[in-house]
Structure formats: structure tokens, C-alpha cells
């Protein structure tokens, strides 16, 4: 299990390769990559973060995912700071023996990262800036996993 909360960019390919090298016998891998959407007039996405809590909370989300599904290996990387359109934000990868476990676990982790990990997005446009508000639809996606 590898969890990283950081400002610097990451290479999706290198992270995937690193993950594969440590999961050689796993038959199913599910990866999600989230990037800054290239909205019109968007200059940057500024992600505020509480790093100490973020690491703990992501670890907590990952442990919960491992309780719900048979997961062999898992990596979560989440960036913060000033991110430009098209840049990577988040990388979630899980591996398992059967496909449903890793696919659902990756979705679960993303759903919780959205609403329960301490990150806050501010969109900086040419003529205005605004904090992104939590969406009811995102909370509902998270709550579907509750037992």
C-alpha cells in the first residue's frame, strides 16, 4: 500500500509501472486518473489541503476498501497546490484476483476522496475565482457504499 499527498506532478506511466512491478501475480488491475478539466478561461485549479489529515484519511479510506473487497495492492496519489488545466490531480490504482473487487474498490476510494479527504478546490478564471461547492450527487455516490 502506497499513499502520497504532494505538490509535485507524477507520471501516470511510471506510477503504473511501479505498481505493476509490485503486483506481478495479480490478475486484475483497476486504475483511475483525474486531471484538471480544461474549462474555458480557467487559469488554474488551486487545491488547498491539510496534508497531515489527508494522509490519515486516505489511509482510513484504503483500509475500509480492503475490508469490503479482496484487494492485494493499492496506491493513491493526490496532489495539492496550483494545478494547471490538463495536469494530474489524483491517481488511484488497486489490484485483486477478480475484476469486480478492484473495479469497485477504485470507485469507492474515488467517491470518498471527493467528500471526506481534506482537499478544497478553488477555480481561478480570468475574470473571477470561486471555491468549488460539495455536490449532493457526489455525497449520494459516497453513501451508496454504506452498509
Amino acid at each position: 500500500m502506497y499513499i502520497d499527498v504532494r505538490e509535485e506532478d507524477f507520471h501516470v506511466n511510471k506510477e503504473l509501472e511501479r505498481f505493476e512491478n509490485s503486483s506481478k501475480t495479480d490478475a486484475a488491475i483497476s486504475l483511475f486518473v483525474g486531471k484538471v478539466r480544461a474549462e474555458e478561461n480557467l487559469i488554474s485549479l488551486n487545491l488547498d489541503c491539510y496534508p497531515d489529515m489527508a494522509v490519515k484519511e486516505i489511509l482510513n479510506i484504503a483500509e475500509n476498501a480492503k475490508k469490503k473487497w479482496q484487494i492485494n495492492n493499492l496506491t493513491v496519489i493526490h496532489r495539492f497546490g496550483e494545478l494547471l488545466p490538463g495536469e494530474n490531480i489524483v491517481f488511484v490504482i488497486t489490484s485483486s484476483d477478480h475484476r469486480t473487487d478492484c473495479q469497485e474498490a477504485t470507485q469507492y476510494i474515488m467517491d470518498y476522496l471527493k467528500n471526506s479527504a481534506p482537499f478544497w478546490k478553488k477555480e481561478i478564471y480570468k475574470d473571477k475565482s470561486m471555491w468549488v461547492e460539495q455536490k449532493v450527487a457526489d455525497i449520494e455516490k459516497m453513501e451508496r457504499w454504506e452498509d
Partner: protein
């Protein structure tokens, strides 16, 4: 007590972090917010709608009646929007 602020809470208070010695009657997050609001109008503005504010004690999301002491790290922030 170390207090941290994030996102628009930090912007309104115009601080990301401060170290405060809180009086004895501050025993939980509710009484801490009341105490902070007596300090400065910016706190009152930030905490005006308490339902929009979440808080963590020692990096863990907590309820407003959870006990706190001067040795704790308390953080205030809006609902999260990561991922």
C-alpha cells in the same frame, strides 16, 4: 492550542494557522468557536453559518461536542471537494 483554517475559512479569517492559549471554559469545539468570535469580527464572519463549517481534532473529523484541551490541534474548514 494549535488552530488551523483552510479554504474560504482561512481566507475570511486571513490566517492559516495560529497558536492560542484558550481559557478553562473552552472545553469543546462549540465553546471554542464562541471564544474565537469574541476576538475579532473576521471569526464571526467565518463562523456565521456554522452548518457550513466542519472541524477536525488532531487530524480527525469530529463532532462539535467532542472534548478539546490546549494540547490539541483543531482545524476548521468547509465541506471537502477533493478527488
Amino acid at each position: 492550542m494549535k488552530i488551523k483554517y483552510f479554504a474560504w475559512v482561512a481566507e475570511i479569517i486571513d490566517k492559516r494557522e495560529e497558536e492560542i492559549k484558550v481559557p478553562d471554559h473552552v472545553t469543546d469545539v462549540n465553546t471554542l468557536i464562541n471564544f474565537l468570535c469574541t476576538k475579532d469580527e473576521s471569526y464571526e464572519a467565518a463562523f456565521a453559518n456554522r452548518k457550513q463549517i466542519k472541524f477536525a481534532i488532531n487530524q480527525k473529523l469530529s463532532r462539535s461536542n467532542a472534548k478539546i484541551t490546549n494540547n490539541d490541534e483543531v482545524a476548521f474548514f468547509p465541506p471537502m471537494t477533493g478527488g
